[in-house]
Symmetry: C2
Subunit: 145 residues, 2 copies
């Protein structure tokens, strides 16, 4: 597994150990991780801190030119909110661990010019499917269902 998806998966597992939803994300600029995050719905009672949002906040206030050369890695296909954050900041590339357990608006994001790659990595798939099986209510809450 790519080192950056590995780092995103490490974030997801950290979230799971905290009792949270196991989704992780990192933001990479010039080959360096500048932001890391994981879903904090349970831990902070936050409805906006999906992994990608937590990651983008942790990266701090970056220049537009920096976002324009960044790549966002996420263990799970970004939802409408997180995809919107990618579009807001003009992040040109998104690498997704898997979209078997959930698929966000990938086609719309591609249509808006973003390079979207889906790995469908087995470890990412199993981490999420195990969690969803055990916590269907929490999972549905996280995706607004």
């Amino acid at each position: 597994m790519n080192e950056f998806m590995r780092a995103a998966l490490d974030e997801a597992k950290k979230g799971l150990r905290e009792g949270g939803i196991p989704i992780g994300s990192v933001l990479v600029v010039d080959g360096v991780i500048v932001g890391r995050g994981h879903n904090r719905r349970v831990q902070q009672g936050s409805t906006i801190k999906h992994a990608e949002m937590d990651c983008l906040e942790s990266a701090g206030r970056l220049r537009a030119a920096t976002y324009r050369k960044s790549t966002l890695y996420s263990t799970l296909s970004p939802c409408d909110m997180c995809s919107g954050a990618v579009l807001l900041y003009g992040i040109p590339k998104v690498v997704i661990g898997e979209n078997m357990n959930f698929k966000g608006p990938e086609e719309y994001v591609r249509d808006r010019g973003v390079d979207v790659t889906v790995l469908n990595d087995q470890e990412c798939i199993e981490l999420m499917s195990d969690f969803i099986e055990k916590n269907p209510g929490l999972w549905n809450e996280d995706i607004g269902q």
Copy 2:
């Protein structure tokens, strides 16, 4: 002015007094304000706390059925990220103070089934245009430019 847009505008002015970007938002359910927020880029160094996001977080973890009967008020047209949050949670109605200073993906949001109303209220327009004129760099940062 509608009492809920007035409350959103009060949030925007609160943000301005704090030295922040004057955009405010409230979430209304059954005629009651259940969440309030304003942009906190400056105050918290947050890149994800646009007014609508701050408002949604302040409302806490709501049931899907509650979001489905809510209305989000914002003094300014929601950007891609905040529009995505509306879609994630299935908020059926958005009332926008103005879209003269910035226009988010309103048509896309309408195409996804959301009832979007734009007031183009003069007080909302002037608050934002005055701020942008005085703080162009900060404003551009907030919209990823």
